[in-house]
Subunit: 158 residues, 2 copies
């Protein structure tokens, strides 16, 4: 995303309406909701999220970058952990729990998305400097996250 | 990523070494660094990151989900902003600043990655309930971020 997210959170819209309307959807009739879906779905999202809403500042703390996988191999004794050497503008080693869905060979050369400013961790004795992003569903499906188009490694994701 | 990241941050490795070694790379000779790259790149990453390191708890606050773009159109008066209807397990409207790189038509049907628990914002008077993730480089290149494999909309990304 470009700079607009910052702008959006630092000024109101031109007509002066408060940005976060204290709407409770239950005050609207079903007919009104169907005719005015945008006016009615502000609070429900916050409710349904279950967890807390975050600010753009919370999100900005997270550094996400495109990395290219240079090397990958399984960690001995684990059927899930793969250790990789990844170039995110600087080479780093990271460990990812995607070994049931991916073989090391099919990862090599792929562009991935990495959280690059996470405190180092150690998994089964192996240092990990960052976290690869992957999507997983409730049926055991798993997919790494990649850029749709060619883009330089080290590119920021936001 | 699977649960391993939580584990990694809640226990030490089995030989009892502190997880975050207070290494200063400058104490090593270049020869030692080349032979032992893993031992020598712990602190430099933290230094080079520039910004602050974050904890796994900081990252866990951010809710990321796979969304499918149902509708997309340009926001009048902007050459950059596109408003989309996205299904992230629930339909939501979001605004993204990717209009210079993408036409609305090529977005429809795509699976994207959305920050789903961001406080709503208003961009040029249009409500945005979430933020699409995209990678951008310093030469004006921009790419949305997508799952590499088929995966259900609403899937969590971590």
């Amino acid at each position: 995303m470009a700079e607009h997210d910052i702008l959006a959170h630092s000024r109101s819209d031109k007509v002066g309406t408060p940005r976060f309307l204290p709407l409770d959807i239950s005050i609207f009739s079903m007919e009104y909701r169907q005719k005015n879906p945008l006016k009615c779905h502000i609070l429900p999202f916050a409710h349904r999220a279950g967890g807390e809403m975050i600010t753009i500042e919370d999100f900005a703390k997270i550094e996400l970058k495109i990395g290219e996988v240079l090397e990958a191999k399984r960690i001995e004794g684990s059927n899930k952990l793969i250790v990789m050497k990844v170039d995110t503008g600087e080479e780093r080693q990271l460990v990812a729990g995607i070994g049931k869905a991916y073989s090391p060979d099919e990862l090599i050369g792929k562009k991935i998305v990495v959280v690059t400013n996470l405190q180092p961790a150690r998994l089964m004795g192996v240092e990990s400097h960052g976290m690869l992003l992957a999507a997983s569903d409730d049926e055991g499906g798993l997919s790494i996250i990649i850029p749709e188009r060619q883009i330089k490694k080290g590119s920021k994701v936001k």
